[in-house]
């Protein structure tokens, strides 16, 4: 990895080493005649079929796809490539919360001049606002993660515990579950910054604000607002009382716990049905999806956990062709969405696909035939504006480290957000930002 970082420097000084490094880096060369080749980094499941569909329908542009790792692995490689000034792909998959980070690193091409502003009406409004800044289009949305409550219908029914509709009822249910089965938990506190962020979003918490178009060096950080604090308070209380487990999400332990009746619920996202349907074999058919519990009875507040986009990098050799790839891989391809929905289980941010009865009316065996998208689609439609900081990795990592301290008992849950706020503000100021609340 470090090798590529220095490639540019080596070349300047040392011809021999430069040649070696270039040979090692490889990279697709544009043929003078023949289709334009666009390199893409992405980790979507079943993505090969999507790429094949694109290549079959485009004569002048051919996609060359590499999976360099999921999330953080790919970002580390991207950041190295941008620092080196060489080695990045033409098009890269980037999650929503990372877009401002790559924008401030000056890594992303504004696709506006390549016609991307025409795509605005195709996509869910909240997603488009996160992918763009004014009329600058930094990313094309692909999939999202509107949140809802996955729960074990059979167990709730069997023990006569009502499925919670408010967070107060959720806490009650947690105690009742523990009472009927001492080995069971209502859920796990998964140590996932994005997940906690989604819960805070749902609670009406808007802790971050940033717009490069308005002011590059100004950022809003307000993690200690009451709407944010109440989430950590609720979950901290459940964890301290031993009513909530502490397995990290997506570990084998957490998956096994979900599949064995140890966890009864998971406040999950639109993409989780696909994720769990593949791995929870024992409990398939026993799960159901309910809307997220509300903070006020009868309210309709919603949040999102995750979601991703395609971006064109500043190192793209042919930005026009790269923008076409970013816009059309999923955006304008029915074939791609057939694969995305039925094999990769992505939650579509293309409005037309999400509203299609083929999607909303799809019955999932995993949920005993429930048409769960009837719950997820209205959630996605309800999501309003939410912004991220240009250093979201730091925020999520610090949040995770502080909650880990609270879980191990070396920190009071009530000081988690206060401490994170302090650390994030200090970091932001060191990075030259003016911080407001």
């Amino acid at each position: 990895m470090l090798g590529t970082k220095w490639t540019a420097k080596l070349r300047a000084g040392l011809v021999v080493a430069g040649v070696l490094a270039a040979a090692a880096c490889g990279g697709a060369a544009d043929n003078a005649d023949g289709p334009v080749r666009v390199s893409v980094w992405a980790w979507y499941p079943e993505f090969k079929a999507v790429v094949d569909a694109f290549n079959a329908s485009h004569k002048d542009i051919q996609v060359e796809w590499t999976n360099v790792g999921t999330g953080p692995d790919q970002y580390a490689k991207l950041k190295t490539a941008f620092t080196a000034g060489k080695g990045a792909p033409d098009v890269a998959m980037v999650e929503f919360q990372q877009i401002p980070t790559f924008v401030i690193l000056d890594a992303l091409v504004d696709m506006g001049p390549y016609g991307a502003n025409d795509d605005k009406d195709l996509y869910a409004e909240w997603a488009w606002s996160q992918a763009t800044d004014g009329d600058k289009v930094y990313a094309i949305p692909v999939d999202g993660g509107p949140m809802a409550l996955m729960y074990r219908k059979d167990l709730f029914d069997k023990h006569g515990i009502p499925v919670p509709t408010t967070w107060a009822e959720y806490a009650d249910a947690a105690a009742k579950i523990k009472a009927v089965d001492p080995n069971a938990y209502i859920a796990s506190f998964g140590s996932d910054g994005g997940w906690l962020n989604g819960l805070m979003w749902q609670a009406g918490c808007r802790p971050y604000g940033y717009s490069q178009a308005k002011a590059k060096d100004q950022v809003k950080i307000d993690l200690t607002a009451p709407e944010c604090e109440k989430v950590v308070e609720l979950y901290g209380d459940l964890v301290s009382k031993g009513l909530m487990a502490q397995d990290k999400f997506f570990t084998a332990d957490a998956t096994a716990a979900l599949d064995s009746g140890k966890y009864w619920t998971w406040a999950a996202a639109g993409w989780t049905p696909g994720y769990v349907a593949g791995s929870l074999k024992n409990t398939a058919g026993k799960w159901a999806v309910a809307p997220m519990p509300q903070w006020t009875a009868g309210a309709d507040e919603q949040g999102d956990w995750g979601g991703s986009t395609f971006t064109v990098t500043k190192q793209a050799k042919n930005p026009q062709a790269a923008a076409t790839v970013a816009r059309e891989l999923f955006g304008r391809s029915k074939a791609a969405w057939d694969i995305g929905l039925n094999k990769a289980f992505l939650y579509p941010l293309v409005k037309e696909v999400a509203a299609d009865p083929a999607f909303t009316g799809k019955a999932y065996d995993f949920f005993d035939g429930q048409k769960v998208n009837e719950i997820f689609v209205p959630v996605s439609e309800k999501l309003g504006e939410f912004q991220y900081t240009p250093f979201q990795d730091f925020v999520f990592k610090d949040l995770n480290d502080r909650t880990a301290e609270a879980m191990s008992g070396s920190r009071q849950w009530s000081t988690v957000l206060e401490e994170t706020q302090k650390n994030v503000v200090a970091y932001a100021e060191k990075q030259g930002f003016k911080v407001s609340r």
Partner: protein
């Protein structure tokens, strides 16, 4: 644990002096070499190029990086030693250093103790079993650190692991290997598992080089096998032991792979859990390559100082005894 080229490996004069071949002085070949300086330089050139390209230039570049600061909002500016001042006053780095030192104080003696005991046993036993055991003991070293850490992650699992539920057999609580109190022990176990065999083989090889006459002399003097092991064999391989120790100290200071992998299971592994992990996160998570470079250099400097101090103390001790 990542082991790099030990820049501060014990100097050659640290090894037992070998009798210098007297006849080499009169060899005519020497004069011939000096007669063709260009040819000599050409032979050295490939090596020189590789060293410059893959050691000097990267190090120089990293050092240059560490002297400036690139803030997200303000861009790059030259800040001199600011990053180093920040590093040595950064509580997260100091916490990580303290953790690694604590880790090393326990893990290194335990591991080298087991390795030494194993090597002495292997040296004393000369059955076919010893050959097989040598292979088995060495095997964890052949497993890539990433794979080893992942494997132990599963072995530690509360659901799948064979160990977590052991206390429940006698009515205790299941063990949480990822809890804050046990985490360092769990990591230490992985490192010990991976490197004990490696060190054992180093020490065993050194034992093979000890002249057998010394043992015979000891036997004639009436020494028991244990006395031979502790009073003859151990002093005889002192150089190898200190070599193994210094490699281990350097490796421990660079502790990275195991915590990085285990972080997938253990939320308690924070961004600054070890100094090396902190440097990695600064660069690849927080986009601060300059501070990361400064951290790496600071860490490299510390490793150098510690390793040198170790060699120095060792040599002093050697001179006294």
């Amino acid at each position: 644990m990542t082991r790099s080229i030990p820049i501060t490996a014990p100097a050659a004069d640290d090894l037992p002096p070998s009798p210098r071949p007297v006849e080499s002085r009169s060899r005519p070949s020497r004069r011939r070499v000096t007669a063709h300086p260009v040819a000599g330089a050409l032979f050295v050139l490939p090596f020189f190029l590789v060293v410059v390209a893959f050691l000097v230039v990267p190090l120089g570049y990293a050092f240059w990086l560490s002297l400036s600061s690139k803030s997200l909002a303000l861009g790059t500016r030259f800040t001199g030693v600011d990053n180093y001042v920040r590093a040595f006053t950064d509580p997260l780095l100091l916490d990580g250093l303290l953790r690694v030192v604590l880790f090393g104080l326990v893990q290194i003696p335990v591991m080298l103790g087991i390795a030494l005991a194993g090597a002495l046993t292997l040296d004393a036993v000369t059955t076919r079993f010893a050959v097989a055991f040598r292979l088995i003991a060495f095997m964890p070293y052949a497993v890539p650190a990433v794979v080893g850490a992942l494997m132990w992650g599963f072995l530690y699992s509360r659901t799948f692991g064979p160990f977590a539920d052991l206390p429940t057999l006698v009515g205790g609580d299941p063990i949480d290997f990822f809890s804050a109190s046990l985490l360092l022990v769990s990591l230490g176990n992985i490192v010990t598992w991976a490197w004990t065999g490696y060190n054992m083989i180093i020490l065993y090889s050194a034992l093979q080089g000890v002249p057998r006459e010394m043992y015979e002399a000891a036997v004639i003097d009436g020494a028991t096998p244990v006395q031979i092991a502790l009073r003859v064999k151990v002093p005889a391989i002192k150089q190898a032991i200190s070599l193994a120790a210094i490699f281990t100290v350097i490796g421990t200071m660079q502790f990275f792979t195991e915590p990085q992998i285990m972080a997938r299971f253990a939320p308690q592994i924070s961004a600054g859990y070890t100094p090396n992990l902190y440097a990695y996160n600064q660069a690849f998570a927080y986009s601060d390559f300059n501070y990361s470079a400064a951290l790496s250099f600071a860490l490299g400097f510390l490793v150098f100082v510690v390793a040198y101090a170790f060699v120095f103390v060792n040599r002093k001790r050697g001179a006294h005894s």
